[in-house]
């Protein structure tokens, strides 16, 4: 219907940035989660 079909690319551009975003997201989730022994006042800082 008028759309040029192309096969999906084998590699993804800027894969490193996706790795980094994925890591930082998990890092923030880990730091924000209340942990035993963590100083309470520092959670917002995380």
């Amino acid at each position: 219907n008028g759309v040029l079909i192309v096969p999906p690319p084998r590699t993804i551009a800027n894969q490193d940035h996706f790795h980094r975003l994925n890591y930082l997201y998990q890092l923030s989730a880990y730091q924000t989660k209340p942990r035993a022994g963590a100083v309470k006042g520092h959670t917002p800082l995380a």
């Binding site: 790795h19 980094r20 100083v39």
Partner: protein, 203 residues
Amino acid sequence: NYQRVNKNSKIALREFINSCKKSTQKCLKLAHENKITDRENLSSYLEKDHPAIYEALPQYDGFVPMYKELWLNYIKELLSITNSIKTLNGSSALLKLSMADYNGALLRVTKSKNKSLRGIQGIVIWDSQKFFILIVKGHLIDEIKCIPKKGTVFQFEIPLSDTDDSALRYSILGDRFKYRSVDRAGRKFKSRRCDDMLYYIQN
């Protein structure tokens, strides 16, 4: 509290670092006055007699999973390191490492113009433009240290497998790393003059 902190996260970070430094100094002073020389006694004494200082002390153990579980797996995934090292391509690894994120990395100072910095090892809790802010496991208490990137060489290792202790070791030339971690992501590193790094060769 999130709104306040998010608005001034830089101020909140500075307050956090200063409060940790202050409580560390008070704590070392108390240890010296009471002639306490080992960790357990000091933490039980503080928990009993000075709970406010004890609360404000940074805990190195809370950051270890950040390095062991998260950062190591991230960097192995980034360099696509499998257990068989043969597949690693050195130069592409360097390019990826120059763009990688070092929050959560375990760095050690190997060379520095400032001799008192040599040998310091800690987990990066914040990678700022001109400093690596490390949390260091101390003999008596854990401390937060701001290590300047200028005139310093850092080293980190990527263990290859849990069984033997083979690891990949890389050095970070602090003088070439004085950019914010977000800016480094899109930056291409070019070869530059190196007369400001003679310390790297001399000692």
